[in-house]
Symmetry: C2
Subunit: 389 residues, 2 copies
Amino acid sequence: MSRKLDDVAIISYGMTKFGKREGKGLIDLYSEAAEEALQRVKVDTIDALVTAAMSPGRYENIMGPANIMAGLLGLYDATVFRVENTSGSGGAAIYAGWLMVASGQVNSALIIGGEKMTHLPTEENAAIIAGLVHEYEKKHGVTLPSYAAMLARLYMEKYSMPREALGYVAVKNHLHGSMNPKAHFQKAITLEEYMNSKVVNDPLKVMDYTPVSDGAAAILLMRKEIAYSYTNKPIIIRAVAGSTDTHIVHEREDLLILNSVKNSFEKALRFGGISRDQIGLIELHDMATILELVELESMGFYPRGKSWIAAMEFETRYDGELPVNTSGGLKAKGHPIGATGVAQAYEVSLQLRGEAGSRQAKREIDYALSMSMGGFGNNAFSIIYEKGW
Amino acid sequence: MSRKLDDVAIISYGMTKFGKREGKGLIDLYSEAAEEALQRVKVDTIDALVTAAMSPGRYENIMGPANIMAGLLGLYDATVFRVENTSGSGGAAIYAGWLMVASGQVNSALIIGGEKMTHLPTEENAAIIAGLVHEYEKKHGVTLPSYAAMLARLYMEKYSMPREALGYVAVKNHLHGSMNPKAHFQKAITLEEYMNSKVVNDPLKVMDYTPVSDGAAAILLMRKEIAYSYTNKPIIIRAVAGSTDTHIVHEREDLLILNSVKNSFEKALRFGGISRDQIGLIELHDMATILELVELESMGFYPRGKSWIAAMEFETRYDGELPVNTSGGLKAKGHPIGATGVAQAYEVSLQLRGEAGSRQAKREIDYALSMSMGGFGNNAFSIIYEKGW
């Protein structure tokens, strides 16, 4: 990978409340997130727009949401398209927007991710999500939630993890969500409540999974040289890198390592010229609690089979040594599919700028990471951020 | 725009037969096009994959088609996502892939565009296409085909174009399609047949419009420096540029100029450092015949109100001075939405290499242009190609 690119900064960011947003469609949500970003920092022109969403066609029969937004935002003579990478659409959209600015094609790019989901009945949402499972696996009745349950069972058996360890992840992310006014769930839970909650895919309980949510998030990218005219606290995007693993999950040699996650992160570290130890905060893809552990280990933040101990010792809590998912994560903040990768960048921006309120990380953070994953780890984009001041 | 980018070459290309592809879904079509490209030139690895499609979710409940293809093609540790820009999805996908290679992020990128449409009844296809019209316009019953009819009427009145002039465009594109074994319609038509064909949106007839088709196309991009190891006739992508116009069509001051088309083309010329006169062949977005004329004039290839005369004098035929849509265009080749922009690059590659068979342009071509348009001109990407030998 070449380094002859311009530095790119996030100069503004916005996010809707995640949750059941009655009467608000994808375009309303996109607009709300974009408006917050464009109110915070006033710019004269925006050269490019990349939107992220998984299937506005299937959800609302909307075609070309990027073009609709370009119209609503009054962008003229801009470079505009939508990026889709299932659950990792937001990360892939940031990659595309970053590349446009970094390569000097444009000076500024607005990235908006979102999804409108809760208006459809649960069964229909399940059918849509099933659309991203491999045909072969679908025939065998496998779903993403059941894969997570199998992964949890494998992990527990291999590493002798006690059942309640996953509860510590859920309790932590709900605590973070309770401190995030934009989270879907803003209610802290106790370990007891968690342990008593209904099993949906043994061993995973309803409280292990992300809910179905509506929402959107936006970030405004600018060439670093220009960024300081708009803010004295730009967030620099140090690196963005993508990677893929097999689409069929059982073709993987070692199910407990997500290679797309590992490789995209390692590529980003190399590109950014920094080491893992310098990362002080992480937003990752906890579609189920077990994934938070497996992703942390895939990226080498903890030795294999040990991340659950860190969770039980509160190391990954907002006040711990390595805060993970201070936003509440997918678990408590919610997961409007196309929004998630962009909402991670929103959270990282708040944290690096010290604007995260009661959930502000206690430790000093120089570099942060967001990891946006598609499917069951068949695609991942890792993004490394640093303070630009 | 910066010019500190690597040169990018098309080293291979593939395309399915367009038309009613019974029993073949989007993934089959993607695979068929990719296979042709990967058979023609053998490469060890592909670093990136960008797929284009408008709404595989709405058409077939497929989520993440790029990830599915990455799996089928055995790509591992690749950078992968889908790009969507309605009818211009293919052009936007080429832009993203070009930027990845040009900026040095990857050495190679496979671009595959496709759409599966004919399995749905006409009314359902019409409803899907209506999903890309602005809400305000939809309420007034406007559709893309009816916009084309209004544009034709305006043009005829303003420039005193005789009705049969549009027939010359249809007859030419059908002639080209009759010489393209992959075109949806491979039947030449006479002006008389055209004039006698059914009016669907006065003044436009059924033979003015593109059909509903299935199909896919693929191109393989490689850093130019490496390209010569694989082919002695690489097609160089000299420039790619995008632009947008208003989403609401009636907000445009002058309906007879498509500003996204004009501006994306002019940006591409500036970026590529070449002049309009050097372009020797064009593939453009003739969703309806009138659009071929308006696009040519928007890009300044003919004075305003004069391109129909060139059509009637056969200038834009394969054996004319400025061959346009030698593939048959959307009119005769068909328009599987996400495939079209990539299929244009396929045709340009054949033409520059002298492999277009009986429809090979008679004139010498050094530079060629493809223009991939989304919606009713609210988004366009222009791509300029040159011979790399």
